[in-house]
C-alpha cells in the first residue's frame, strides 16, 4: 500500500501534463501514436466544415464513381459527392456522438458507482440488482427497441448510449470506490469533521480519476462503434447526414465492386479511430495505475 501510494503519477516540476505526455511517449509509444491519431481525427471532425474540399452533399453527376485522385483524394460516390468531405463530416458526427455519449456514460457511472460503493449496504444492493437486471438485455437489442419507439436522431442516440454504457460501467467505478473508501485518508478526512459530500468530492473522486479517465476513453471508442452499427442498420442518425456506418451500408455496400473506396474510406476511418482510442486508453490505464507500472 505504501509503495503504491508513493508511485502515483507524480506531477513533476515542469507541469504535470507535459511530464505525463513525455512519459506516455517514452513508455508507451504505441499508445502515444494512438492518442495522436485520435487527436488528428478529433480536429478533423472539429474543423470538418473548414477543411472539407467540397460540400458534403454537393453532387456532380459528371464525376460519379471516380477512383481516388488528386482532386478527390478518396474518390466520389454514385452521385459524384466527394468521399473525403463526407468522411470528414462523418468524423464530426462520430466525435460528437462519441464524446457526448461517453461523457454522459461516465457521469452515470460515477453517480451510480460512487453511491453504490461508498454507501454500501442496502443502497449498494438496490443499485447493483438494478444494474444486473439492466445488463441482461443485449446492448443492440435495447438500442433498436428504444430507437424504433422514439425515432432516430442525435439526442436520442446519445442518451440511450450514455445510459447503456453508463449503467454497465458503474460496476468498475464501484469497485475502485470500495478500494479507496477503506484507505486511511478517507477515515482521516472523516475524523477531521468533513461531510460525506466533501469526502466524496475531495477525497474519493480524485483518487478514482485514473479509472474514470480510462473508462471515458474506452467508452468513446465503444459508442462510436455502436453508433456506426446503428447507422449501418439504418437506425442511426438519418440521411443525408453522412455517418460512417450509413456510408458503409448505403453506397459502400451497393457499389462495393464498382468503387471499393466507397466502403474502404469510412471503414478504415472507423477501424483506425476505434483502434487508436483503445490503444490510447490501454496506455493511459497502464500509466495511471501504479500497480501496472514496470510491466509493459
Amino acid at each position: 500500500m505504501t509503495v503504491a501510494t508513493s508511485l502515483l503519477p507524480a506531477p513533476a516540476q515542469h507541469g504535470p501534463w507535459v511530464a505525463f505526455t513525455l512519459r506516455l511517449i517514452r513508455e508507451k509509444p504505441l499508445g502515444a501514436i494512438g492518442g495522436a491519431l485520435f487527436v488528428l481525427f478529433f480536429f478533423c471532425g472539429l474543423f470538418a466544415d473548414v477543411i472539407s474540399p467540397y460540400g458534403m452533399n454537393e453532387t456532380n453527376l459528371l464525376e460519379r464513381l471516380q477512383a481516388p485522385s488528386f482532386s478527390h483524394w478518396f474518390g466520389t460516390d454514385h452521385l459524384g459527392r466527394d468521399v473525403l468531405s463526407r468522411v470528414l463530416v462523418g468524423a464530426q458526427l462520430s466525435m460528437l456522438v462519441g464524446f457526448l455519449a461517453a461523457g454522459l456514460a461516465t457521469l452515470v457511472s460515477i453517480v451510480l458507482g460512487v453511491a453504490s460503493g461508498y454507501f454500501g449496504g442496502k443502497v449498494d444492493m438496490l443499485i447493483q440488482r438494478f444494474v444486473d437486471a439492466w445488463m441482461i438485455f443485449p446492448d443492440l437489442l435495447l438500442l433498436i427497441a428504444v430507437i424504433s419507439v422514439v425515432g432516430a436522431g442525435i439526442p436520442q442516440i446519445v442518451i440511450v448510449l450514455g445510459l447503456l454504457y453508463g449503467i454497465a460501467g458503474s460496476r468498475i467505478v464501484r469497485g475502485s470506490v470500495i478500494g479507496v473508501k477503506e484507505n486511511m485518508h478517507t477515515h482521516a478526512a472523516r475524523s477531521m469533521g468533513a461531510r460525506t459530500m466533501h469526502i466524496l468530492i475531495r477525497h474519493i473522486l480524485p483518487n478514482i480519476m485514473p479509472v474514470v479517465i480510462v473508462l471515458f476513453t474506452t467508452r468513446v471508442g465503444a459508442t462510436i462503434l455502436t453508433e456506426a452499427g446503428l447507422s449501418f442498420l439504418g437506425l442511426g442518425i438519418p440521411p443525408p447526414a453522412p455517418t460512417w456506418g450509413g456510408m458503409l451500408s448505403g453506397t459502400g455496400r451497393t457499389y462495393m465492386y464498382l468503387g471499393p473506396w466507397l466502403a474502404l474510406a469510412p471503414g478504415l476511418c472507423l477501424t483506425i479511430v476505434v483502434y487508436a482510442i483503445n490503444v490510447y486508453g490501454d496506455a493511459l490505464r497502464d500509466l495511471l495505475d501504479p500497480r501496472m507500472r514496470g510491466s509493459r
Binding site: S191, G193, A194
Partner: protein
C-alpha cells in the same frame, strides 16, 4: 478537583461479525483532565483503538455503542447528532492515525490537506487557511514550510508525514488530541522526535492527549497517567510513576517483564506471557486474563477479582 475534560463512563461497544457478536470494549471507564497525557496501553485487539474511535463517534456501521456515556466538556457525545458531532471532530477533538504513509490523500497537496480543517471549521477564506497551513507546518518543524505547501505526500518521508498529520490535528487548536499509535510505523530515531514534538505542542496549547500505544517505554517517558487495557476492559489505571514502581494487575506485571533489558544476561530467554490473547467473541465469564495468569485462582474464573 474540577470536572475532567473527558469522562468515559461504562462504555460498551460491540461489533457484529460472522463469528458472532464481538465485545470489543466492555464497560470501560476512564477520564482525561485538561492538559494531561493519558496513555492507553494494551496488545492488539485489546480495545484501545475502538475506545478512541468511539470517542470520535467513528465506530462505523458494523459497530454499535451499546451503553455508556462519553462526556466531553459536559456534553454526552454518544447522544449527539451526527451533524453536531461533525462540528466537534477535527475542531475540538482531533485524531492522529498510526499510518502516516496512507493517512494523507495521495492526490492532494500537503497545503490543501492541512488547510482543510481550518477551512471546514473556522470558516476562513481559502487563502487565509492556506497561509495558516504554512504557519502550522513551520510549527511542527518542517523546514522551509511555505515552499513545501505545493508538494504531494509522496515527496515526504514517514516522519515528515506524521508531522503533517500532527499539523492537521493541531489546526483548530483542539482541546483533546487522540494519537492512535502515532509512532508505530516510524523509524526508532524518528519516534522520539515525533513524540517530543507532540508533547511540546500539546503543552503549548494546554490540550489533553490520549496516547494509544503498546510501547511501555513511550508510556514511561511521555504519559502522566496510564490505563492498561486487556480483552476490551481496563485492567488497571495508575499514574505512570506508580504503574512502573508498583504494577498491580498480573497482566501489567507480565507486560513489564516482557520488556528486554540491557542488564539481563546475554543469551537469556525473553519473558513472554503464555497463551493467546482472548477471543472477544466469547470471553471467559471471570477475569479475561485468568487463563494466562500465573496467579489465577478458582475464583478468578468465576468473577473478575478486584485489585
Amino acid at each position: 478537583m474540577s470536572e475532567p475534560l473527558l469522562r468515559v463512563e461504562d462504555l460498551c461497544v460491540s461489533f457484529r461479525t460472522d463469528s458472532g457478536i464481538v465485545r470489543a470494549v466492555d464497560c470501560v471507564s476512564l477520564h482525561v483532565n485538561q492538559g494531561e497525557t493519558l496513555a492507553i496501553v494494551g496488545e492488539s485487539g485489546s480495545g484501545k483503538s475502538v475506545t478512541a474511535l468511539s470517542i470520535m463517534g467513528l465506530v462505523g456501521d458494523s459497530g454499535k455503542i451499546n451503553q455508556g456515556r462519553i462526556l466531553f466538556d459536559g456534553v454526552d457525545l454518544v447522544a449527539l447528532r451526527e451533524s453536531a458531532m461533525r462540528k466537534i471532530r477535527g475542531n475540538r477533538i482531533a485524531m492522529i492515525f498510526q499510518e502516516p504513509m496512507s493517512s494523507l490523500n495521495p492526490v492532494l497537496t500537503i497545503g490543501k490537506q492541512v488547510a482543510e480543517p481550518i477551512w471546514l471549521h473556522r470558516k476562513k477564506s481559502w487563502t487565509q487557511a492556506y497561509a495558516e497551513a504554512a504557519e502550522l507546518l513551520a510549527k511542527v518543524r518542517i523546514p522551509d514550510a511555505r515552499s513545501r505547501l505545493d508538494d504531494y505526500p509522496h515527496h515526504f518521508s514517514g516522519g515528515m508525514r506524521q508531522r503533517v498529520m500532527i499539523a492537521m490535528a493541531l489546526a483548530c487548536q483542539p482541546k483533546l488530541i487522540i494519537a492512535d499509535e502515532p509512532t508505530t510505523a516510524l523509524d526508532v530515531t524518528v519516534q522520539a522526535q515525533i513524540l517530543a514534538l507532540l508533547k511540546d505542542l500539546t503543552r503549548e496549547t494546554n490540550a489533553a492527549l490520549i496516547l494509544i500505544t503498546h510501547d511501555l517505554g513511550v508510556v514511561a517517558r511521555y504519559a502522566d497517567r496510564v490505563a492498561v487495557m486487556y480483552g476490551g476492559r481496563i485492567a488497571e489505571t495508575a499514574s505512570a510513576a506508580d504503574l512502573y514502581a508498583n504494577p498491580r494487575h498480573p497482566y501489567t506485571v507480565g507486560l513489564m517483564r516482557s520488556i528486554p533489558s540491557l542488564t539481563s544476561d546475554a543469551g537469556s530467554r525473553l519473558y513472554a506471557i503464555r497463551g493467546q490473547p482472548p477471543d472477544l467473541a466469547n470471553l471467559p465469564t471471570g477475569c479475561a486474563f485468568a487463563p494466562r495468569c500465573e496467579w489465577a485462582k478458582d475464583i478468578c474464573l468465576r468473577s473478575p477479582p478486584s485489585l
